[in-house]
Symmetry: C3
Amino acid sequence: MEKHTVDPWAWGKNTNSVQAVEVKNVTGTLYCSGQVALDANGIPSEADMRSQLLQTIANLEHLISESGYDCKNIVRLNVYTTSTQEFFMTCLDVYVPFLQKHSIQQATTLLEVKGLFAALTVELEATVVK
Amino acid sequence: MEKHTVDPWAWGKNTNSVQAVEVKNVTGTLYCSGQVALDANGIPSEADMRSQLLQTIANLEHLISESGYDCKNIVRLNVYTTSTQEFFMTCLDVYVPFLQKHSIQQATTLLEVKGLFAALTVELEATVVK
Amino acid sequence: MEKHTVDPWAWGKNTNSVQAVEVKNVTGTLYCSGQVALDANGIPSEADMRSQLLQTIANLEHLISESGYDCKNIVRLNVYTTSTQEFFMTCLDVYVPFLQKHSIQQATTLLEVKGLFAALTVELEATVVK
């Protein structure tokens, strides 16, 4: 698979995504369900958003790895949160290192939604290629 | 097309989705607009969510069939609703049989949104492959 | 790439989308981050939704063009807005000519969300093929 990122504006360097990702000669596509902070028994977290994001990222990493894919090849990673303010105030020191650790360069849309399942406050929806 | 599902956690068996779907050797991809409870004249329903979901599913089945695709091969099915509580309380006896009838094993993200068009309360957005 | 649109219902002619888009023999896929009304310095607009949509569309056109793709080949274009009412009341005379100018026939889901980044009120998320 060939991957090519596009960032036409200088301000793109200050974001945690690229404006577009092109892929060619894809041999497999992995569509992931939105991952949230469920523990090993499937119980949804009631912790603060930052703690939930730590669990969510661990779950997403495990899912992608178990599927035989690499986080580096996430092409679309959408973030759904019940509070964008809380996400930007409390979660970037968790979210950014996750992207850097895997050298993820992905398209992202971030939406503030009315609610997620139970007391969940943040969800990550990934599409990955190989 | 080859399709492979991934469910790394035991609790996955109790959900109405799989955690990830991998597809390879895809020969066609069908991107569907979000389907809602519009009648044959395009009039949006004002009925309760459960009734709307019945119409929405009928519309989605018709759309996929007319497109020459099979519901069984839905890879991503997102659910957008104005009330997750109402969805889980009143709609599962409609939603689950739809998945079972077609043996659909799909990635899903469920979001509670502020609103949909007119008085609509539930929407299904599908991506299908062959 | 071959593209084929499906509109099983007569009312489909009155919408600004098609109900489904099928693509085959795709040689490249472009996943775009949600585009919003940022200016050349990355500053988010505080203007009204209609003005924001004009900037958003200009940004999306630039992004797709810089990526070597054609707006005509957008297969999925999702619209996220903080007010569907305001979108339909004030934005159609901007949105529809954009679709017509490029002969875009795309699948669309429109969601009213609780919020977007800063004071942004409308966002366009595109997937394009070649």
